[in-house]
């Protein structure tokens, strides 16, 4: 046996011994996702236990260095862990913006002190982060942001407003883009971290068309942020912001794999379909879904090998989210008028329709499809004028 075979066998044994049976059943809805954080209400003891054992081992973030709470696994080992978890049906123990967005940015740009301070609580699911990027006047044109941070000696004084801040009302801390200089658009942005419990921070939930309220308007009124919570250098936040967006887009592209429901193929429903046109659509979708799955694997391997083009996450984000939107259109078509029910028990309070509507944001959040295509045209294809 090679070392990797050993690792696989040990991993499987450990997972079998440590993953509570309840955490080996597929998630039923978004409510089963574990986000962690100070105020997180666990759905069950099993969910808490699963987070604890995985957090302790660093396997919530398998490829982060162990000195920052990670698992210290190599790319191959991390992939094996993922495969074994999938094979046993283990749920992802922790999902968070800390893991998928802030962590990678801190690993690349944070000071040693910042890494020590912020990464382990992310790995253990103790602190939940939100993303303060978009503003009413700065969406696609993110660098046009105007939330202001003034230098007040030992701290910054932050004033302004963010919008569409996902889970701002449930998050403990925020990573936030602020303007520290008006001399240059991109060169006047800084990347700050601060506690959402700081004086002067307030949030107001916004309701989505799905009826859920996962995001907020976030207001800053004379918020004091200690200087040691600036990541990278003052006025160099755009570099950090872009790097983080790459990771966010990588994460969102995973939507193309079918989200929490795994990668079950739509054509598995063919038995129930007597409409040949719909059957054809389902079959064609599966072709694209399986091809995308292969691309995702190639993408991750290229990333791990450091060979991925920095704009590749944009291509993946575009493809994955458009695919996910199509999946849900087809789920609705399959469901016919049953799937249109909105409040009945029978429809699980309209789960299908609400999920379908929610996917429409996939091609908007994390930068719109149009913006991703623009990035590919400019940075990969280097088309003139793009």
């Amino acid at each position: 046996m090679t070392e990797l075979d050993d690792f696989r066998a040990q991993t499987r044994a450990w997972l079998e011994a440590n993953c509570p049976p309840e955490m080996r059943k597929p998630m039923k809805s978004e409510k089963d996702i574990c986000w962690g954080g100070r105020d997180f209400t666990f759905q069950s003891d099993a969910q808490r236990e699963w987070l604890e054992v995985m957090g302790e081992r660093g396997w919530t973030v398998p490829d982060w260095p162990s000195e920052y709470g990670g698992g210290g696994l190599s790319a191959e080992e991390a992939k094996i862990l993922k495969q074994e978890m999938k094979a046993l049906g283990c749920r992802v123990p922790l999902t968070s913006f800390g893991i998928s967005m802030l962590g990678p940015a801190l690993l690349a740009f944070g000071s040693e002190e910042q890494k020590q301070r912020f990464l382990p609580p992310i790995a253990r699911g103790e602190i939940r982060w939100c993303q303060g990027y978009s503003e009413p006047g700065a969406g696609s044109d993110l660098a046009g942001l105007s939330t202001k941070a003034e230098d007040r000696g030992d701290h910054y004084l932050v004033n302004g407003q963010k919008v569409w801040t996902s889970y701002a009302d449930e998050a403990d801390w925020i990573f936030c883009l602020v303007r520290t200089s008006t001399e240059s658009k991109h060169g006047g942005i800084s990347f700050l971290l601060f506690d959402m419990a700081s004086e002067g921070v307030s949030t107001k939930p916004i309701k989505l068309i799905s009826g859920y309220s996962p995001f907020c308007e976030t207001f800053f009124d004379d918020v004091k942020v200690p200087k040691d919570q600036l990541v990278h250098e003052e006025n160099k936040g755009w570099t950090v912001a872009k790097y983080l967006l790459g990771h966010e887009r990588e994460m969102i592209s995973g939507m193309g794999l079918g989200g929490g429901k795994g990668s079950s193929l739509l054509s598995e429903a063919l038995g129930e379909v007597d409409d040949p046109l719909l059957a054809t659509d389902l079959a064609r979708f599966d072709v694209d879904a399986l091809a995308f799955q292969a691309m995702s694997e190639a993408f991750i391997d290229q990333l791990k090998a450091g060979e991925a083009h920095p704009a590749l996450p944009s291509m993946m984000k575009y493809a994955g989210t458009e695919l996910n939107k199509r999946r849900h259109e087809l789920v609705m078509a399959l469901g016919g008028s049953d799937a249109l029910e909105w409040e009945s028990d029978r429809s699980k309070e309209g789960a299908r329709a609400r999920d379908w509507l929610r996917t429409k944001a996939n091609s908007i959040e994390g930068g719109t499809s149009e913006i991703q295509l623009g990035i590919v045209a400019k940075h990969i294809l280097q088309l003139p004028g793009a």
Binding site: I206, L277, L278, S337, L357, T368
Partner: protein, 365 residues
């Protein structure tokens, strides 16, 4: 000619103003949703539509209507679509009137419809997909009448209706029956749909009706109701597409990013231009279908399939583009654009979705 005549234009002008004012989203759809209205529409608007002569648009003059045609009904429906105005117009004033006309039931029900007082509902679908060729609900002869057994769903405003028109299979083929909502053995569940409209699930457990409950003869009334309903909902879909498009077109001018209106980006311009063309095409197909119906043409059935399928596809594209081009704000409940996406999804299924109609077109003999 494939265009509206002067009278039809005048009607359009009147209805456009009326719906934009009285039928606006804030006053009707959002209002009734937010207060949790059990009907999902306002009876006062229905009466006002009656006073304006709209609810009787297809009703014979003797019964208080104006005896106009599908083209005129569709003019009203496009404005209803544009404003997402909830009302019983499509099923009651269009499909049910066509079903009832010339039958012994006409005298009883048409005057109330023309006044904007009566609400009728059509019970056709039995599963999640529209397919009236496979009706399994039975109407069995028994003594002096029939016994109805079976389940129905997607019965638009079924829990608010004074009259239910129920499709059932008899020994002589499918037929339509007029059933009172309080008939014994009939259970009605009021269901809220994604667009906050209401559609009922009905379950008939040995519901007894008189022999004269049957509407007209054979399957002709059902066929008339389906043709009018499908052609009508195609027009409502065109209206939904046009409404979403207009709102988006305005937003393309108003919203600025990168120091310029987002409508200045060619990536969006071309899609808006494409959508404009698609909506014009869908509207032409829908008008053609309505005209052929009014002429009693043999080609009407074919064109109705084309209109419903095309309008459904175009409206789907329109609402998707609309939400996408609005960015984050398009995903919020506070903004109206999302309502267009919800309404499109519901009426796209009503009387059969694009796949159903494309298939029907291909399979017609």
């Amino acid at each position: 000619m494939l265009k509206l005549n002067d009278d039809q234009r005048m009607l359009q002008d009147t209805v456009r103003l009326f719906m934009a004012e009285k039928g606006a989203i804030s006053k009707q759809l959002r209002h009734w949703r937010d207060i949790g209205c059990k009907d999902g529409f306002g009876h006062s608007l229905w009466e006002e539509m009656g006073k304006l002569g709209l609810t009787g648009i297809l009703v014979p003059e003797a019964a208080g209507g104006s005896a106009l045609g599908q083209v005129e009904a569709n003019v009203v429906l496009e404005e209803i679509g544009r404003n997402l105005t909830p009302s019983p117009f499509l099923t009651t004033a269009v499909a049910a009137v066509r079903a009832l006309e010339g039958s012994a039931h006409a005298e009883k029900w048409l005057p109330g419809i023309a006044e904007g007082k009566t609400v009728a509902a059509l019970a056709i679908d039995e599963g999640p997909h529209h397919d009236p060729s496979k009706i399994t609900m039975t109407a069995t002869r028994s003594g002096n009448g029939f016994v109805l057994d079976g389940d129905k769903q997607f019965v638009v405003q079924g829990a608010s209706a004074d009259l239910l028109l129920v499709a059932a299979a008899t020994d002589d083929g499918p037929a339509l029956f007029a059933v009172a909502p309080d008939a014994s053995g009939l259970d009605i569940e009021n269901v809220t749909l994604a667009d906050s409209s209401k559609a009922a699930r009905l379950s008939f457990d040995k519901v007894e009706v008189d022999a004269d409950a049957q509407v007209g003869e054979g399957d002709a009334p059902l066929k008339r109701a389906l043709a009018a309903g499908r052609a009508g909902v195609a027009s409502e879909l065109v209206g939904v597409a046009a409404g979403a498009f207009e709102m988006t077109n305005a937003y393309l001018r108003e919203r600025k990013q990168f120091g310029q209106p987002i409508g200045s980006f060619q990536a969006l311009q071309h899609r808006a231009a494409h959508l404009y063309g698609e909506i014009e095409i869908a509207r032409a197909a829908t008008l053609k279908a309505a005209q052929l119906l009014d002429e009693g043409s043999e080609r009407a059935a074919m064109m109705v399939h084309v209109a419903k399928a095309k309008a459904g596809q175009v409206a789907r594209l329109a609402v998707q583009e609309a939400v996408q081009m609005h960015g984050g704000i398009g995903m919020t409940d506070e903004h109206d654009i999302g309502f267009y996406m919800k309404r499109q999804a519901v009426i796209d299924q009503l009387f059969g979705g694009p796949d159903f109609h494309a298939r029907a077109l291909a399979q017609r003999s």
